[in-house]
């Protein structure tokens, strides 16, 4: 494939996104584990804290080990929750020092080449948007742990993007995990859980809402909110 067009790339991005979903469940497949890296190593690699040679070795292992690949994806997901969104063109936090020096040296060379070229070089070049980069933020109408009445247990949210649909899972995690409601392909950013689904749950029960937005460009954004049940 030489010089593939934007539409080709768009299609390939969609294809990769669909594969990512399968990759999650793929982790349940049995493999013959050997020399699996520690969870600490997976965490460091996902955070970009390993030198390239070690990352390459780890990636070669992940190609054969769906469980470790899943652990890596989880680390990436957790780290993105911890960090504020970052612009796609700049280097993320944790960039090795030698890379920063190289970037500085490159900038100085550009200065020497002249102002025009330098200015041109500083223009941000478009990079393909992929899942795992800056994720659009889902904003919820209710604050974290807000109380919602059982008779009108409705959660609303908002996302300033071109959204096709939303998938929502509503569940309690304690004392036992139980799915209370599940909606797929919602067009409106709102879901009401029927009072019958909340029967037997005591006042103050923490209920989790996992909202996944599927956007027109194929990207997805996920966020979880907890609310408390009010009787």
């Amino acid at each position: 494939m030489t010089g593939s067009s934007c539409s080709d790339r768009h299609e390939l991005d969609d294809f990769a996104d669909r594969l990512q979903e399968s990759c999650g469940l793929w982790a349940l497949a049995a493999t013959e584990p050997h020399d699996c890296p520690s969870s600490q190593r997976l965490w460091e690699a996902a955070a970009g804290e390993l030198p390239p040679a070690k990352t390459v070795r780890l990636i070669d292992h992940l190609a054969q080990c769906p469980q470790c690949a899943s652990g890596y994806r989880l680390a990436l997901g957790m780290q993105s929750q911890l960090q504020p969104p970052r612009p796609q063109v700049t280097s993320p936090a944790g960039t090795p020092v030698w890379r920063q020096w190289m970037a500085l040296a490159a900038a100085l060379v550009l200065v020497a080449l002249g102002l025009v070229i330098w200015q041109n070089a500083l223009q941000p070049h478009p990079t393909p948007a992929m899942r795992g980069g800056t994720q659009p933020e889902i904003k919820f109408s209710a604050p974290q742990d807000a109380a919602l009445p059982a008779q009108d247990f409705t959660l609303q949210w908002n996302l300033e993007e071109d959204v096709l649909s939303y998938d929502v899972d509503v569940y309690v995690a304690s004392p036992d995990l139980r799915i209370l409601d599940r909606a797929r392909g919602l067009e409106e950013p709102s879901l009401t859980v029927a009072p019958s689904s909340l029967q037997g749950l005591p006042e103050g029960t923490v209920i989790y809402w996992k909202v996944e937005a599927i956007m027109a460009d194929g990207q997805r954004a996920t966020s979880t909110r907890s609310t408390r049940l009010q009787r």
């Binding site: 494939m1 593939s4 790339r9 390939l12 294809f15 594969l19 990512q20 399968s22 990759c23 999650g24 469940l25 793929w26 982790a27 349940l28 497949a29 049995a30 699996c36 969870s39 600490q40 997976l42 965490w43 970009g48 390993l50 030198p51 390239p52 990352t55 390459v56 070669d60 992940l62 190609a63 054969q64 769906p66 469980q67 690949a69 899943s70 652990g71 994806r73 989880l74 680390a75 990436l76 997901g77 957790m78 929750q81 911890l82 796609q88 960039t95 990079t127 393909p128 992929m130 899942r131 795992g132 980069g133 899972d169 569940y171 995690a173 036992d176 995990l177 989790y208 979880t224 907890s226």
Partner: protein, 182 residues
């Protein structure tokens, strides 16, 4: 009151314990994939026990920031995934060699079976890719952007971009040849 045979500290400590548990629960549930949700209580408990153990060894002097708690929660999740692997080592195929659905309560058997088939297809097709494309495609499937993949692998962005898309195209053709079209 006991929790998995452990004595829960009282008063202020009990309050801190509850807060800690809640923080860990949030860290886990925020990213827990659907197929692992039914194990989330075990994961939270495993993470909590680790934190309590560290706390005890430091005689209560250790403070836990959200980043550290996430790391502990991640470690507990990886352990749980590896436990699932051990549990499912044998029964993945029936006598005809067809992939069997796996016991993942939050996922339909059809979706589970299909995903395992596709997952295996991905694994086989990745093996056929030339090494740099394989690495680039895997970074993409793991959730990295092209610049992130380039940085982690020590490549330049343009090269990485080419490898990702050429590799994805190869992967798509390979899966198609196996009758797999996700």
């Amino acid at each position: 009151m006991t929790d998995s045979g452990r004595r829960i500290p009282r008063d202020k400590e009990a309050e801190e314990y509850a807060e800690l548990r809640e923080s860990l629960r949030r860290a886990v549930l925020r990213v827990c994939p659907t197929w692992l949700l039914d194990k989330s209580d075990d994961i939270i408990q495993g993470a909590l026990m680790r934190v309590m153990d560290i706390q005890r060894r430091s005689e209560g002097k250790r403070e836990f920031n959200p980043s550290y708690l996430s790391k502990v929660a991640h470690s507990a999740m990886v352990d749980q995934i590896r436990k699932l692997r051990r549990r499912h080592e044998v029964p993945l195929e029936n006598e005809e060699g067809t992939a069997m659905p796996l016991p993942a309560p939050a996922v339909s058997p059809e979706r589970s079976t299909r995903s395992v088939e596709i997952g295996r297809g991905i694994q086989e097709c990745l093996k056929q890719l030339i090494r740099p494309r394989r690495r680039a495609v895997l970074m993409r499937l793991l959730g990295h952007t092209v610049p992130e993949a380039a940085e982690r692998l020590g490549w330049d962005v343009k090269r990485t971009e080419n490898l990702v898309y050429r590799g994805l195209e190869n992967l798509r053709e390979c899966l198609k040849s196996k009758g797999l079209e996700p």
